[in-house]
């Protein structure tokens, strides 16, 4: 089982890298052909980092390994036609990598090795150093903070409600009381639903696509879970469903990294704030989650918490962040 997965992953990865390499060859050519002299924006040079920091190590190595989801539409999904992983998490990874290696997001793509992370293997991947970062719809919570550290959040998902297009009776979570509502068995969505609408008639399935089927068939009148998942279902429904857009819980997504690497965490947080401010974050959102029907929100507020077991007093990151923003032609 394990073996066959790797056998599949091998060619997929090779394809991804190949596709990445091809894209890179084309981009400079396009730039030169289109503009002649680059007047719009000068490319960023690789910043300098203090020796010994994770950023410096990665820069010298010339590559970074990022764990992303391969099956989550809008965040990290393996496109079988191109062999590339696509989504908001992937774009964030590129922007982070651009902050380490210089250049823009497209240049940075060739430096990133994407590794498939599923919900269960994210902590071990970080702890064992299999990946340098995990950007995989990774909800920040206190249990996880015991074993890994989080930069961010870079996005806050919310639990929302999906109904049939012509249904105007459900406007908030309160309206779900007494109605037939579907969600996934054992999920946090189920817990939130029971807490917020105690009298809802809950139908539980193993997957959200089964809930969508039940909604199509009229067995339930609403489906509830993270708005990001629902948005994908709404898109797949070809206009049969719609989002109520009445969120009733928060799921902050963060970037997972090795516990105690405070310099790296500060760098990531600085870099996130930078892309929040310069519009690259919003651009990445529009190109991925925006396409499945989500409105671009305000960037979330970075949570610079004090890591329980982390080494304190490392100041390398502050200086390096300033170097990141200096621009020069390579």
């Amino acid at each position: 089982m394990k073996r066959s997965r790797w056998l599949l992953a091998g060619p997929a990865l090779a394809l991804a890298l190949l596709a990445g390499a091809c894209g890179d060859d084309q981009n400079p050519a396009l730039d030169n052909g289109g503009g002649g002299a680059t007047t719009t924006e000068a490319k960023k040079a690789a910043p300098k980092f203090d020796a010994g920091t994770t950023m410096d190590t990665l820069q010298k190595k010339g590559s970074i390994v990022v764990g992303v989801k391969f099956d989550q539409p809008g965040f990290g999904q393996n496109n079988p036609t191109t062999g590339k992983v696509e989504g908001f998490d992937v774009e964030i990874a590129k922007l982070i990598a651009a902050g380490i290696f210089g250049g823009d997001a497209d240049d940075a793509e060739s430096k990133i090795q994407f590794k498939e992370s599923v919900s269960k293997n994210r902590e071990p991947f970080i702890q064992n150093g299999e990946v340098d970062l995990v950007i995989a719809t990774y909800t920040i919570n206190d249990t996880r903070k015991q074993v890994v550290d989080f930069a961010g959040p870079y996005f806050v998902a919310e639990q929302d409600i999906m109904v049939k297009k012509d249904d105007n009776t459900i406007k908030s979570v309160n309206d779900l009381n007494g109605k037939k509502v579907c969600t996934a068995k054992g999920s946090t969505s189920e817990k939130n639903l029971r807490a917020k609408a105690a009298n809802a008639d809950v139908t539980l399935f193993d997957t959200y696509s089964q809930c969508a089927e039940a909604l199509t068939d009229g067995r339930v009148v609403a489906v509830t879970t993270d708005n990001t998942i629902l948005a994908g279902l709404v898109q797949a429904s070809n206009g049969a469903f719609k989002l109520v857009k009445a969120p009733f819980s928060d799921e902050p997504y963060g970037i997972g990294l090795k516990k105690g690497d405070d310099a790296f965490r500060d760098f990531l947080n600085d870099r996130l704030e930078e892309i929040f401010d310069n519009g690259e974050w919003a651009e990445a959102f529009e190109e991925t989650l925006g396409k499945i029907g989500l409105d671009t929100p305000e960037p979330p507020k970075i949570d610079r918490y004090t890591s329980a077991g982390g080494a304190t007093g490392t100041t390398g990151a502050g200086g390096s962040a300033t170097t990141t923003s200096t621009t020069a032609k390579p």
Binding site: K185, G186, E190, T203, L204, F205, D206, Q210, E213, D217, G218, R219
Partner: protein, 200 residues
């Protein structure tokens, strides 16, 4: 637990009726009926119950056959179990001495009469024990209704475990509850078997 009992009893009643009819088809002198009986048995007996249930609930809804999850479960469990009942009853029919049917035909009875009056009563007598097995298997199979959100024993246990995160007492309790249902039904079938046994 009540849902499990109701599911089991209604499904078993449906399975007995359908299964006996299908068994009659399989031994009938009319070839198309024999073929129909064989197809029914082989299709249902050789496909997983889970697949049948999902097919019925999600698939057949699309062609206009939509029932509540509970009714759907009874239909699917009943149909699935009827295949086993049919095969069991057929073996019972075959166990009835050939001379019985020949004698009945000799006195001018039609095929349905031969089967209904002479052969089937004797056939049932010999298959009480295997029918008991089928009943117990059905009791346990009703747990599959949990996948379509029917609140039967297993689903209740599953939700209880999600709420309390104490899997050992919860699922052990569910296992005991199934035993409480299946052990007495096993004894009941044993009693019935002795009661209708042919004294030799």
């Amino acid at each position: 637990m009540r849902t499990t009992v109701v599911l089991t009893l209604t499904s078993f009643a449906a399975a007995m009726v359908v299964g006996t009819v299908v068994a009659a088809f399989r031994v009938s002198p009319v070839p198309p009926l024999r073929a129909a009986g064989a197809v029914w048995v082989q299709m249902l007996r050789n496909t997983p119950l889970t697949v049948l249930l999902l097919l019925f609930v999600f698939g057949f809804t699309k062609i206009g056959l939509q029932y509540s999850f509970e009714v759907s479960s009874v239909i699917v469990f009943g149909a699935y179990t009827s295949a086993f009942v049919a095969e069991t009853v057929r073996s019972g029919i075959n166990a009835v001495a050939r001379g019985q049917a020949e004698a009945a035909r000799a006195v001018g009875l039609t095929f349905p009469q031969i089967l209904g009056i002479v052969v089937l009563p004797q056939a049932f007598r010999t298959v009480v024990a295997p029918l008991g097995n089928i009943f117990i298997a059905l009791t346990k199979n009703t747990s599959i209704a949990a996948i379509i959100s029917v609140l039967e024993l297993t689903e209740v246990a599953d939700r209880l475990n999600n709420a309390t995160a104490r899997p050992i007492p919860v699922f052990l309790g569910a296992a005991v509850a199934y035993l409480v249902l299946t052990l007495p039904s096993g004894f009941a079938f044993g009693w019935l078997e002795r009661k209708v046994a042919i004294r030799r």
